[in-house]
Amino acid sequence: MPALLAVKLFLLTSPLAIVVVLSIVIGLLMVVLFGYTSNQKAIGIAKDQLKAHLLAVRLFQDQLHVVMGSYGRILRGTGRYLRLAFMPLLYVIIPITLLIVQLDRYLGATPMTPDAPFLLTVKVSNSETLNDLSLDLPAEIMMTAPAVHIPADNEAVWRLSASKSGVYEVKVIASGHSVTKVVRVSPELSRVSPVRLRGHFWERMLYSAEPALPNDSPVESIAVNYPERAIDIAGYEMNWIWLFFILSMVAGFIFKELLGIKV
């Protein structure tokens, strides 16, 4: 039982385990979905034709007209194959994109750690507001250096540090309006939001995990530079998205063979 618990805990807390499991599951789901939403017969024919033209180049290599003709047919066939292969992707592109965005909240960055300094960057609408900008920090977070104003970019940057783990709200007061930004300090895997934005619907969907800043606020964005998470694979560090890309491809390849789905 303790071993089982350890495995469960590992799966819940290890980014590597999560990426591996997710890659396999998503690889399977995507291949199945691809199989249902694609014209399997047409894809099979397109791939077979491509292979035939490749073989023709080899079989008739002394016949230059065949080689050049086959090369042209390969280019045309590739276009046809890609058109067929990308049609079903339209069905899966929205859910998979949203899923990747959500996963990135957990796997893309690590929360802050206690006593480690980090930067909080506030961008406001105009440079005058920089003169009327302040922070209201919770007791566990302290400012380790005075604010740096960058009028050219309408930005102010603070260097902060948290004394212990927790989920904190940093209050930004600009021209009498106050808005907050969540700062997560934790050694564990947790959901982080690197930026809070005003407006920018699509950007918020893709990059923020917090509600939009009020439209009447002079603050345009508040960002925290969470450290990038690197997953260690046999001593080689890589971003989770690359690992997901490779593993989901491998899983997809295996499942497509097992399920007889042409991709």
Partner: protein
């Protein structure tokens, strides 16, 4: 500040790490946008990955191949020039196209031309040449086509029939190729695991003329010329034809899966497999080859399938493996891949077609012989091996079995006339596609393709052409289909399309290996030998079983099996031989004299018009493997079905009641083939053996001295 990132200069500042994800997603989307017409927004799982990678891979490999071909082409040409001089320097044509129509008959061709039914052949006759083409002794396709390709008589290429006899046991074996499994096996548990390769030995000797062309740097595309299995290496591409076995190793074994109970066995070429019906679902199986892992023979692998009949809609849904198909009654499926799994990863790959015969009251499904899958060949059926894969990828799966048209199924009434013709022409259309692809690919050199449809259709439908064929007496004359005239017209149209593809610098030859005649009466030569004291049965027996079961060899001096061969039971040669070698020649002459002119008592017609002592018609190192005598039957006659299988019956002559109603395995002098040429050629009594030396000569090469054929010359104005 170590480990902290630089501030981003973008409009909203801290997107750095997240932007990596976005960039990857955007990269995939951009690739999609660049190539596909629909907007793609992100990496959408492995489907997108495979599509992109596969496409790039295809282009990359194609580019490498093309670059290699282009970069090395001048070097290879130079190398060829130095080594072989200019291959086409002395050639009279840059290309020769030979269309082989198995069994095209000169008399029928002339008749239909004169009736205006064959305009393209008539054009060839007018502009070029039309003549009869003498054939081999005997006039059997594997024999004649072997002579066609090697330019020698059967004594030098060793093919005398489809079958040859084993002198140690009087049993037949396939004359063209011998297939042996791996010699070494390792036993693990219940498995006997084979190690090593399957050995395929070519029994046909001699060298096809395209090898000589290849040596001189002339490329050849050779499609389905008979007796080219196993394929041999040469400079060109070749798809094997007649004599390629099915996956079971036979020359074609169909399967009738039926809920109708019957203990009858098919005489030849097929098996009946019971179909079990339960809750409206019928289950059956496709019999496959023996398991390679079994210690003993007879451990047949099978692929199960189920049929869900719908009597109202007159259709059925068939599920075999992952394939699901719906067929109407009287409809064929496409070629369906089937995999026979022996375990431990050993799988035999085949393809077959289903034909729904009946759904009510009984359910019957015909399954074609399981052909070797050309896209995944377990045995080599082409040279290079990738050529069949290339054709399968380009046009889809196609029949690879040597005798792909299931004549046995029609003979046994498993298929009807229409279903058989559909099958024939389906195969024929595949062959046409291959021919035109070869024509496109072979702008210089040799392009040759043999079509079997002419042979099979004439075999099976001659009964409607004959005035009074026993197999068609019940069909009123005005209701008989014009199958054979339509067949010739179809071939004529094909020839017309080929003529449109060629220019004056191309020689077009249309040849057939033999002609055709009616097969209305059967001659059981074993019965005649028995009645005349040359063959003895065990005491008390009046008939034998197949393959001489119940024959008393200690009192037998002569026997026959196969289509035209007659053998003496020679002491020291046959296992139980009794004829003294000193008496052999005298016995041959005696049999020749007695059989020559053998009269059919029912009609008074001559059943045998010529008996040939093989020593006088064959020359070469393999003459000793030939039958002792070749029997030439008269027009309208042929060896009986029983006699071919080594069976002795009570009657010598009987009617042929089978659909197989035309034949050519008779006196070769009565069934010459055709020769059409796009250019006028000069030849006295041209023979099929002349084709090989003629092609070599026209390409500027000297025919080898051992050739028996003589090269034809072009008429003066042509040359």
């Amino acid at each position: 500040m170590s480990g902290m990132r630089e501030q981003s200069p973008q409009s909203w500042p801290v997107i750095g790490r997240s932007s990596l994800v976005v960039r990857i997603a955007l990269l995939a989307a951009l690739i999609a946008l660049a190539i596909a017409p629909q907007p793609a927004h992100a990496y959408a799982g492995p489907g997108a990955g495979f599509a992109v990678l596969s496409s790039f891979w295809a282009i990359f490999v194609a580019f490498l191949y093309s670059f290699y071909a282009l970069a090395t082409w001048p070097i290879r040409q130079l190398f060829r020039f130095v080594r072989r001089r200019n291959a086409y320097g002395k050639a009279k044509f840059s290309r020769a196209v030979i269309l082989g129509f198995d069994g095209m008959d000169p008399e029928l061709a002339e008749r239909f031309m004169n009736e205006g039914k064959l305009p393209n052949l008539a054009k060839l006759r007018e502009k070029g040449t039309f003549t009869k083409l003498r054939t081999t002794f005997p006039a059997i396709s594997p024999v004649a086509w072997s002579t066609f390709m090697t330019g020698v008589n059967p004594g030098k290429h060793n093919i005398y029939d489809f079958l040859a006899r084993d002198t140690s046991n009087y049993l037949p074996f396939l004359s063209s190729a011998e297939i042996k499994g791996p010699k070494r096996h390792i036993k693990i548990g219940k498995y006997s695991i084979p190690f090593g390769k399957t050995e395929i030995k070519a029994m046909r000797k001699g060298t096809p003329f395209w090898h000589w062309l290849g040596k001189a740097g002339i490329f050849s595309s050779v499609i389905r010329v008979p007796v080219t299995f196993p394929p041999e290496k040469f400079s060109g591409v070749l798809l094997s034809g007649m004599c390629v076995p099915d996956l079971k190793g036979s020359q074609g074994t169909f399967c009738l899966c039926t809920t109708r109970s019957s203990s009858d066995k098919f005489r030849e070429g097929g098996v009946r497999v019971p179909m079990e019906r339960r809750n409206g679902v019928c289950t059956s199986y496709i019999p496959g080859p023996d398991s390679p892992l079994a210690e003993t023979a007879g451990n047949e692998m099978r692929v199960p399938f189920e049929v869900r009949p719908d009597a109202v809609a007159k259709q059925a849904r068939i599920v075999v493996g992952s394939e699901k198909l719906t067929l109407k009654v009287g409809e064929y499926s496409e070629w369906i891949p089937v995999a026979f799994k022996a375990g431990l990863g050993f799988t035999a790959h085949g393809i077959c077609r289903f034909y729904l015969k009946e759904v009510s009251p009984e359910v019957e499904v015909y399954v074609s012989p399981v052909n070797i899958d050309p896209g995944h060949p377990d045995l080599p059926i082409s040279h290079p091996v990738t050529y069949s894969i290339y054709l399968a990828k380009l046009y889809g799966p196609f029949a690879t079995l040597g005798l792909a048209e299931d004549t046995w199924a029609l003979n046994e009434h498993v298929l009807d006339d229409e279903a058989f013709l559909t099958q024939c022409y389906s195969n024929h259309e595949d062959r046409e596609r291959m021919l035109f692809d070869a024509l496109d690919k072979t702008k210089q050199g040799l392009c040759t393709c043999v079509f079997d449809t002419t042979d099979r259709v004439q075999h099976m439908f001659w009964r409607y052409l004959d005035e009074d064929h026993p197999a068609a007496r019940e069909v009123p004359r005005d209701q008989r289909p014009n199958v054979i005239p339509e067949l010739y017209q179809r071939m004529d149209k094909l020839i017309g399309r080929v003529m449109e593809k060629i220019d004056d610098d191309t020689l077009l030859l249309v040849v057939s290996d033999h002609g055709f005649k009616s097969f209305a009466r059967c001659v059981n030569l074993n019965a005649w030998l028995h009645q005349n004291g040359y063959l003895a049965l065990q005491d008390g027996k009046t008939e034998s079983g197949d393959w001489f079961d119940d024959v008393d060899w200690s009192r037998t001096r002569a026997y026959t099996m196969g289509l035209n061969g007659l053998y003496l039971n020679v002491k020291g040669r046959e296992k139980q031989g009794i004829v003294d070698p000193a008496d052999v020649e005298a016995l041959k002459v005696e049999l020749q004299q007695k059989l020559n002119g053998l009269q059919d008592p029912a009609s008074g017609e001559i059943g045998i018009t010529g008996v040939f002592i093989t020593g006088s018609v064959y020359r070469g190192p393999y003459t000793e493997n030939a039958p002792d005598l070749i029997v030439g039957y008269g027009a309208g006659y042929r060896a009986s079905w029983d006699s071919v299988l080594g069976k002795v019956t009570g009657q010598v002559f009987e009617d042929n009641m089978k659909a197989w109603s035309g034949d050519h395995c008779i006196d070769p002098r009565l069934v010459p083939g055709v020769l059409f040429s796009s250019h006028k050629i000069v030849a006295e009594k041209p023979h099929i053996a002349d084709v090989a030396p003629t092609i070599l000569t026209l390409f500027g090469l000297a025919p080898p001295a051992h050739f028996d054929g003589k090269a034809w010359s072009l008429a003066a104005q042509e040359s």
